[in-house]
Symmetry: C2
Subunit: 92 residues, 2 copies
């Protein structure tokens, strides 16, 4: 699954496009973000990506977990957002 590394300077609209492409092609995406600014951009990106894939009848959800991310040899605690597709109810 594609890993998207987000910083506080990432542009949510562009990240959303990458998420949408990864979801359509691979069924999901993994986002790594360290720090409040990066996490905020990541969440905004997912919110925008939901709109991009709604026409494909895809309902995106995200699963946040803590993760250790290696930055230039230093281990930092960051947020991993697993973006995945929510299954529709069987009877809908």
């Amino acid at each position: 699954m594609e890993v998207l590394k987000i910083s506080a300077n990432s542009k949510p609209k562009f990240v959303a496009g990458a998420i949408a492409a990864a979801v359509r092609n691979e069924g999901g995406a993994e986002i790594h973000a360290i720090g409040a600014g990066a996490v905020n951009q990541a969440i905004k990106s997912v919110a925008i990506a939901r709109g991009y894939v709604v026409s494909n009848d895809i309902d995106l959800v995200c699963i946040p977990t803590f993760t250790k991310i290696n930055v230039d040899g230093v281990e930092k605690t960051g947020i991993k957002l697993l973006v995945t597709v929510r299954q529709r109810e069987a009877d809908s």
Copy 2:
């Protein structure tokens, strides 16, 4: 559904407890956050809450959307996180 208003000063462990309680009692929770610091605390809270409810065999996911939030008469754009339970696969 319970609405939890998160600020940059909210304590993720306490918010996680409130999310876990709302999910167990009502099946979900709604989180409102304005600004990067608040969104970051909200996401950390969901990550912690996932651990709290895993013993109940509950798999939490969140759905981020943009929302207008009224703060002291001023309308601001914030993030609404819908925290909900992912249905298990029927055959698992």
